[in-house]
Symmetry: C2
Subunit: 354 residues, 2 copies
């Protein structure tokens, strides 16, 4: 198979971890006789520094013509502390999601047995958890009109959804539920929000079509609670952009660490694969970041973008084997982990490659 | 002391648990020689059934003239499953919050040592946790303009904040931090939302005034994660209406159960005290609900509305003693709890009274 892959390292630890996602893809190409051609592009703070634009046209062009994109992370403390900054790294990520029509963000919560103890949740609460989140990614309050009045006494963001936006992601989630445990939980705040009531109506309608899937509706506050109380009860979780952002970060604690979770953004065009963690500038450049989320993002790419299930399994298995052998990065180590089993980003990447 | 207290049981288990909050207030009046006069009013589904209005004028009038309100819960599955219903129980609660100017919702996450094992989080993660949430309660996407187009293909809710709304609750939170561990964490989504950027600006300005308080800003996705990962790190948490709704329900798992958490809504007028749990129609009328959140809401009333610190402590201590003696309702029992120590709502209420 011949594929063009665009690497966008982005900001902070994005640079360090993406190297490993890429090297794993190269190793797979070698092993299975594929031809993966790589190109690279800039985005975020890195792109603002270089061009003044968080998503340069050149990056967008390269993205459009590639077969899949491996992305790192975005963001910089400089902007976080300056709420009045007009140009911000995150605009790059939001714009590329919108431009490529990446409306469905899949976030599997994959639990490696070896990491049961790395979580703050009790092992018996975690064991057997397997959740696949479908987060809507190009609508909601993220993209609605933003306003600020001139004297800075008022600000607003429009939360909004079109019926077709809810329907297309709901279909993807229902389809996925069919291939899994046939349970779908749609999360909203329909007791308060009009947007959520439309969301619920659409999901209720589709539920009739997918009558073999057991459909449940849950309020976001309750879902945030149930996810900690009893994560096992979830199979496919379908939710809007903002609620999905919150719930999936929370759910990262099920997998032991943000450093373990990969995501796939798909829709109309080129698929986009990225860790759910951020740019973590506090540990950037220190060879401390966990490269597994980027490596698992590469596995998602092989699976979802290229349909290479066996290759994807090989990568996931390599990660599992590395964990089984006791190797850990700092974020997934626990008090009992032997000091000499705690590795840096690069050493961990090498272990997986081996 | 002479006080007029309005009881609004509301819907579902609200009825059962509020009886116990009231009885505890009566017991305190007797013990400490206060005169508490009680009145009762309807709200929510109960009020819709009786009058067609989730917040009848009579209830609002009674609320305005009382010195404090003890509320139960609101909501009914009937409306949850019917997203198109125009009249909804929750409108009653939202309207009374707005009408009474209850802009600050205080939610203390109080951890009883006896319940360390009732949580899905590891005891060592929990031990020592003591968080006070300040949730803004009369603004945000809860009260912004809602729209639905005629052919039901589009819906929107306006998320918005005025500077003065952020400032008044932030002041309350900073003041509280001064009396506690002098740490304040303000939660927003300033990397995406204009509302959050205004929020962050205002909090940054106030932080200079409260330079003795260590102020931190955190994105909501990160906060939802940190709350599970390391709850101990938080002292006072300040946040907007929607984010506060989500975070405090999530945080209920720190306290072992939603059935343990009380809240105080304060602002311009009469204070409003309620459990954070909902109407739980699935267990309503079965003598299964945990009355402790209502009893602890009564304690908050004594403390915050009436300044009766000693009386409030007596109530909290009675709850602690009951737990120490091993008594549990179903929601806070664990696998090791002896069957004969698991009590119904009424039996648990009696134990606390004793
Ligand atoms: C960086 C930020 C804009 C982004 C989001 O909120 O979508 C991130 O948190 C994510 O989840 O991908
Ligand atoms: C019932 C609902 C409208 C309410 C809210 O979202 O504010 C509840 O969840 C709460 O937290 O008090």
């Amino acid at each position: 198979m011949r594929k063009n892959i665009l690497i966008i390292p982005g900001d902070g630890i994005g640079q360090e971890v993406t190297t490993w996602g890429k090297q794993v893809l190269e190793a797979i190409a070698l092993k299975y006789n594929h031809e993966f051609a790589f190109d690279e592009a800039i985005m975020g703070h890195t792109a603002i520094e270089a061009t003044g634009n968080p998503l340069p046209d050149e990056t967008l062009e390269k993205a459009r013509v590639s077969d899949a994109i491996l992305f790192g992370a975005i963001g910089h403390a400089k902007y976080d502390n300056d709420p009045s900054a007009k140009v911000r790294p995150e605009q790059g990520l939001l714009k590329i999601r919108k431009e490529l029509g990446l409306y469905a963000n899949l976030r599997p919560i994959l639990l490696f047995d070896e990491l049961l103890d790395a979580s703050s949740l009790k092992p018996e609460v975690l064991r057997g958890t397997d959740i696949l989140f479908f987060r809507e990614l190009t609508g909601d309050v993220y993209f609605g009109e933003k306003k600020r009045n001139e004297d800075n006494t008022f600000a607003s963001d429009l939360m909004n959804y079109h019926r077709y936006e809810v329907e297309r992601i709901a279909r993807k989630a229902f389809d996925a539920a069919r291939t899994r445990n046939k349970k779908l939980c749609s999360v909203d705040k329909a007791n308060v929000l009009e947007t959520s009531r439309l969301w619920r109506e659409v999901v209720q309608e589709l539920a009739q079509e997918y009558s073999d899937v057991e459909t449940e509706h849950m309020f976001i506050d309750n879902a945030a609670m149930q996810l900690v109380k009893n994560p096992k009860k979830f199979d496919v979780v379908l939710t809007a952009n903002l609620f999905g952002d919150i719930l999936t970060d929370e759910a990262s604690q099920i997998a032991g660490s943000m450093g373990m979770l990969a995501s796939a953004s798909i829709g109309d065009g080129t698929g986009f694969f990225e860790p759910i963690h951020g740019s973590a500038h506090d540990i950037a450049g220190q060879n401390k970041a966990n490269p597994l989320a980027s490596i698992l993002s590469a596995a998602l790419m092989l699976d979802i973008a290229f349909g290479l299930q066996e290759e994807a399994k090989t990568v996931t298995q390599a990660v599992a084997d590395t964990l089984k052998a006791g190797w850990r990065t700092g974020d997934i180590a626990n008090a009992e982990t032997a000091k000499d089993k705690i590795l840096g980003t690069n050493e961990m990447g090498v272990k997986v490659l081996e």
